[in-house]
């Protein structure tokens, strides 16, 4: 028997600002979020990790460049290496790229403007722990809010299979290569995306399409919960 509410760590860096929205969304979807301060060296007994949006360490130098050295990131790296599922949202995506856990890099938006609006997305892969509730080709509406979201890949062809979400043609908010909005690592257990599913879990806020992403994450975390010891 599995636990009904999987524990999910949300790493809080100085300058993170979406950890509470992420916790609120995950709790609404049946998970038990646990905020983990960046200075912690252990994540505790969790079934998934979320790196939230924000401006970690002021985003000095480059977005995510300094956060990747925080003590908690060592634990995240180990967790990912052992197959644990890790989702990076916006600044979390930038941190995962800087840490080398995902391919590519995120550069300043082509417009040089901070973009804050809903975007139309297309699901390219529904076979990941982050999109299992979706179907391939499904359209999602989820907001973005970032200044450095222009995804760049060194070798686009080599990573074509790793694209999970694309901005719909004509709705690329930042100049990202090949309209890429989300990528997974080769093993498929680490994903980063620029849009914010945690801001789209209730139609009162304009869209509930974020549930397709975070709900998939919660489902996958449930499956990975260790069986409870006899109590």
């Amino acid at each position: 028997m599995r636990r009904s509410s999987p524990r999910i760590a949300i790493i809080v860096f100085p300058g993170s600002n979406d950890e509470r929205d992420a916790a609120c969304a995950l709790r609404a979807l049946g998970a038990e979020p646990r905020l983990v301060w960046h200075a912690e060296r252990a994540l505790g007994d969790v079934s998934a990790v979320v790196l939230p949006g924000g401006f970690s360490y002021g985003d000095y130098l480059r977005a995510g460049a300094i956060a990747r050295f925080s003590p908690a990131m060592g634990a995240v790296r180990d967790f990912a290496a052992s197959g644990g599922i890790v989702l990076g949202i916006c600044n979390g995506f930038q941190i995962l790229c800087e840490a080398g856990l995902l391919p590519g890099a995120l550069r300043p938006n082509a417009s040089l403007s901070f973009v804050c609006r809903d975007v139309s997305l297309r699901v390219e892969r529904a076979d990941t722990p982050f999109t299992a509730r979706c179907r391939p080709g499904q359209a999602l509406t989820i907001p973005v809010k970032h200044g450095e979201g222009s995804f760049v890949l060194e070798d686009g062809a080599a990573c074509a299979e790793q694209v999970v979400l694309r901005y719909e043609a004509g709705d690329n908010p930042n100049g990202a290569f090949d309209d890429i909005a989300a990528v997974v690592n080769g093993k498929g257990n680490v994903m980063g995306l620029m849009p914010h599913p945690e801001h789209a879990v209730d139609t009162l806020l304009g869209s509930a399409d974020g549930v397709f992403i975070l709900g998939s994450l919660v489902d996958a975390a449930c499956e990975r919960e260790p069986a409870p010891t006899a109590a």
């Binding site: 130098l61 890099a105 938006n109 082509a110």
Partner: protein, 81 residues
């Protein structure tokens, strides 16, 4: 020892900041072509000799100062310092 590290967007990498600066210069009447904007880091470091300083600075660039996927770096050490 004092050193300067120059970090530049690699050729082919979109540099909207450089484009905006180039556009502004042209609007001011300057005959400016392609313009790229990078970053300059000035720092002081302890090192026995210039060779040691250079290898230390290169490690700094690889580990933190540049994202070598999209940026190149150049290290300059002030001679006689």
């Amino acid at each position: 020892m004092r050193a300067t590290v120059l970090v530049r967007p690699r050729p082919g990498i979109l540099d909207p900041q450089g484009e905006a600066v180039g556009d502004s210069l042209r609007k001011l009447g300057f005959a400016v072509g392609e313009t790229r904007v990078g970053r300059l880091v000035e720092l002081e470091l302890e090192a026995a000799d210039e060779e040691g300083a250079r290898s230390e600075l290169e490690r700094m660039c690889e580990e933190l100062l540049a994202n070598t996927l999209v940026e190149s770096y150049e290290v300059r050490i002030e001679s006689g310092s």
